[in-house]
Symmetry: D2
Subunit: 340 residues, 4 copies
């Protein structure tokens, strides 16, 4: 019997979670919510998702726009086994208090929420087991997911003493037309360390300091990493270790991947919505200097957390082991069949 | 028997032409050429296209990169019935002299070439018949295609006295990382009128003056149009006329299409590579003032000419009427099933 | 005796108005207000301006930041003959009701306010006389000022039947780091005509339709203009007429002015803050087609209204004729000594 | 008697060097060269500089544009005591072979040249003495100058064990309208370390590894720095040490410096051309974690090397000690009177 998944907030993350669930055999989407009757609401219906209003007062708005909804989030969670909350930052915590606890339903939150919204902060590779049979799980943010995946692998293979990371963040997502930066670079936050390091530590026990900036681009975050290794390693060893993990995509400057523009051009060719679920690491950037590993990775902020949401569902219902779940997720989403 | 199509230049236009040909029952791709052994070359092979070197001296380069090619453009055109030349600007004319005339093969050129490269400048809607049984046809550029489609329909329905258009052009394609503008607006050309008006007139007999600018974006061109009508019309009449044509996509600000960012977000949801083959026109922008039609359209520069290339092939071999060809092309590419 | 000017809102416009007043012999700045104790507040003090808190509750904030203020806007206007309100959009109207009417003080508002905030909407060239001895005057916005100046001259010299303008607007000012567009073009408003045409008509009686877009740049607006002339004219005639007016700066592509980047580079060389008070028109863009004038002008949004604010003050106190005021303003601000 | 300075290449660096020389009492500009008769050439003349053609064949071009030149670079260096070569990258080395060695004239090169173009790579603070009485000196690039200044001070005060730096570089200067990035981030170079570390080592003996990226902005470079200290230090100690050096400008987020946009807005207020000659360091970014110093600095790429060029001239003629030269340069350029 398939797990019945409700997606609360069919936006950038929510629509990707819904489609990913659709590709699984052990779960199904029983409905999605929207706050506005816009083109994304119409697409949800075209895709065959049952549409619900995010809040009761929105029912009228949808009706006026000629879109009929099946009810509200409260109706939807009555039918569901779990809700994946993809609301904007901080709204997830409100929803928990308002709806999920009351209904006694399991819930997954995204990385915009504080860690105490859930029993465990989650990354499939790093701590799948800790989410087993939990009621509330928080899938960490895109930047944190990207850092944790990489650091987990490096730590498992070579040991990690200390990490220093500079994050060059895209200022808004491609669809945003309200906010942004123009001709600017912004330290964000201005204080060091940024919150990303502590957020990594909610999942992985590692000594890490992060510094973050925003730049005027929408496409991907880029991480400039310095990792002090416990064991000796050569660039080839690092490449070999990374190549093992399907959720890491190694690309080569030699093959024309000269910037994130080229990575996204490639993504457009191979995936719906140009979705990349992988950390993208430039082979040529991998260097070992005084037994410190340097590398540059690009983080696809819209889609990298999607496989983690799927794995979190399986863990919370304890219907698959870590290896089995990740294998199923990877297979169904086409992860690991790409370029390397 | 399928028409054997060679695609010379598997880049932004070439890869889209190849995929579009693949979707047709009356033609097939027998090979594509590349100048560099990069990720696009590898994708061409993964997609099942036979790969050829664009020039003889490149064979070695491909070999060194571990990619085997079947030969060069000269070998490829021996096997082909027609070549679709998708080379960079001006290289098409060189190829004609160097290869196509010598081999006696039909050829389609793109809008970067001067009009005298071909017997006819082409837009399916406007002058399909003129391309029938021709040897050399030039599919006009993205901006010209966008203008011609619109003006053809308006002229057919209401008559056009005069057109004034300001084109706000994306400076480079999304994959470009060598050129660009940063924090700038550039009149290009500085002199008025720009070449776009005369280029429209290679296809359509209309009085048109164009002014063009480049701005720092990669996503779409935007046209601000003023069209003096011969007959009286109301905005509803215009909408009705445009709605008839599948290659025009009407979108509404009300539905959330507040900028080209939203249009492309929608495109990502519905098409491989986020390809739009349609003129995108905002319903709310359509206004009639003193019997002059004002409207704003967005032009997807990467894909708008693709259906025209397919129709040009059919015309040149006289295997379908205009209506039949456009119907087939639209159907196979999913044109006209979209949002309206 | 000098007119005592209070500047309410020492921001992008306010700081430029203050400095311009400082250059005049018949007026002086008696104080400026700020809402925040930031670097601009400190600069105001360094420049010798008396600093006041924009609102009473801000006094504490300034004190905590170690900046002493002389009082609030209410104290300031007690001492002043006139207040130049440079508050954000719509706040000017609030200030009028709250402070200026009560104090019975003359006030100038900026173009972000609705026209009915004042007795007259103002442009020095077009309607100086209408502001004479008025209590409330509104200096129209940067785009409107740019349009009015140009159209006034063209109308005086050749007669104008009809104007069609496409405005390509910078999305935010250079100092903004909260809002913006990234890789986008936004019709704003989506409906045609935009409000700019009617705003021109608050000053000048001309048949004009405007369409407006926002693009991701901070430097200047660009206007693509089509003007139906009453009399015959050649490009040379237009150039000659424009050359007469100091507040129009003619530049040439030939001299290296290939984009607004070059214009601003030039501005950096010649003026504090790279302030341009002039409409900047490319000579090469001036074309006459069917007795319609086409041209492209760039509008420096930060500084173009500054001379108009100075002239408005003189008109409101009737201390100089239009010609005398404009001559004084131009001379003191260095207008008309530039490139041509 | 003043040192007679020729400026070869009156562009972004050259025009600033010329103006800085003009402010000194012990040197003077005897001429500047240009390759094109554009607005910058006209500005050079307006400023009172004698104009020369960069190459003989350009004389005709200037004549045709109605600009008379006094001769060519060869004529100019006959009159000069020293030439400051501000040519584009690599042209400096060509000029040395072609002109300077032949004429037996001292020359300063910029950081775009390889280090072996000169006897010494120069930064006033770090190695003034090494340039004394040299014939050929290379002033290191903007990024290197910014790194060297900071690291010299930190090393003198606290000792430096190791430096790790991520450089987020502006892709082009504000006046450029030919190249650029749009909506992109580019690792440049892709390999780690970048050349910036070794370039620092041409001036300062320090263990440093750099990683560099280009982003779509024109305004400033930003450096994210990690510095392992030899001695214990607290953030206050660092601030105190930095505050001593006039060529370092400390700014505070609290005062409204939230991004480089605000820094440049401030620069526009206080300096011609918005020139900043200083490293700009955010106080709030200064953190000590495990005795490693983290901080963020912004580097004004157009002007930071200007004071170094002036100091290099004095060193090469041995007319002032390091302290005396830096004091004079700072005083005349207004360095050190700014915000802190």
């Amino acid at each position: 019997m398939r797990i019945k998944v409700a997606v609360h907030g069919y936006g950038t993350i929510g629509k990707r979670v819904a489609d990913a669930v659709k590709h699984q055999e052990d779960m199904k989407v029983i409905g999605v919510t929207k706050t506005k009757p816009d083109y994304e609401a119409r697409l949800a219906i075209e895709r065959g998702y049952e549409l619900y209003a995010a809040t009761p007062e929105k029912i009228e708005v949808f009706k006026n726009a000629g879109i009929s909804v099946k009810g509200t989030i409260e109706d939807l969670i009555q039918e569901a086994d779990i809700v994946v909350d993809c609301s904007p930052k901080k709204v997830g915590a409100e929803n928990k208090a308002k709806y999920y606890e009351k209904a006694g339903i399991k819930a997954i939150f995204q990385g915009g929420e504080k860690k105490d919204v859930a029993e465990v902060s989650f990354n499939a590779l790093a701590n799948y087991e800790q989410a087993i049979e939990r009621d509330y799980v928080r899938v960490v943010s895109c930047n944190t997911t990207g850092l944790v995946r990489l650091l987990y692998i490096i730590n498992q293979n070579f040991g990690v003493n200390k990490v220093r990371a500079t994050l060059i963040r895209r200022v808004v997502d491609p669809k945003d037309d309200k906010k942004g930066l123009v001709n600017n670079i912004m330290p964000d936050p201005i204080t060091i360390p940024s919150h990303h390091g502590p957020d990594v530590q909610t999942v992985l026990d590692v000594d890490i300091t992060t510094v973050a900036f925003k730049v005027p681009t929408t496409r991907m975050h880029v991480h400039s990493l310095n990792i002090e290794l416990k064991q000796q390693a050569k660039p080839e060893d690092i490449i070999e270790a990374l190549r093992e993990e399907p959720r890491i995509m190694l690309v080569s400057y030699e093959d024309g991947f000269t910037s994130i523009a080229k990575i996204m051009e490639y993504a457009r060719e191979i995936r719906t919505r140009s979705d990349l679920f992988e950390n993208v690491i430039w082979k040529e950037s991998i260097a070992i200097i005084d037994n410190e590993l340097y590398l540059t990775q690009a983080i696809p902020q819209e889609a990298i957390v999607i496989p983690e949401n799927i794995d979190a569902i399986r863990a919370m219902f304890n219907i698959a082991s870590k290896e089995e779940s990740m294998r199923l997720t990877n297979e169904t989403l086409g992860i690991g069949k790409l370029y390397s």
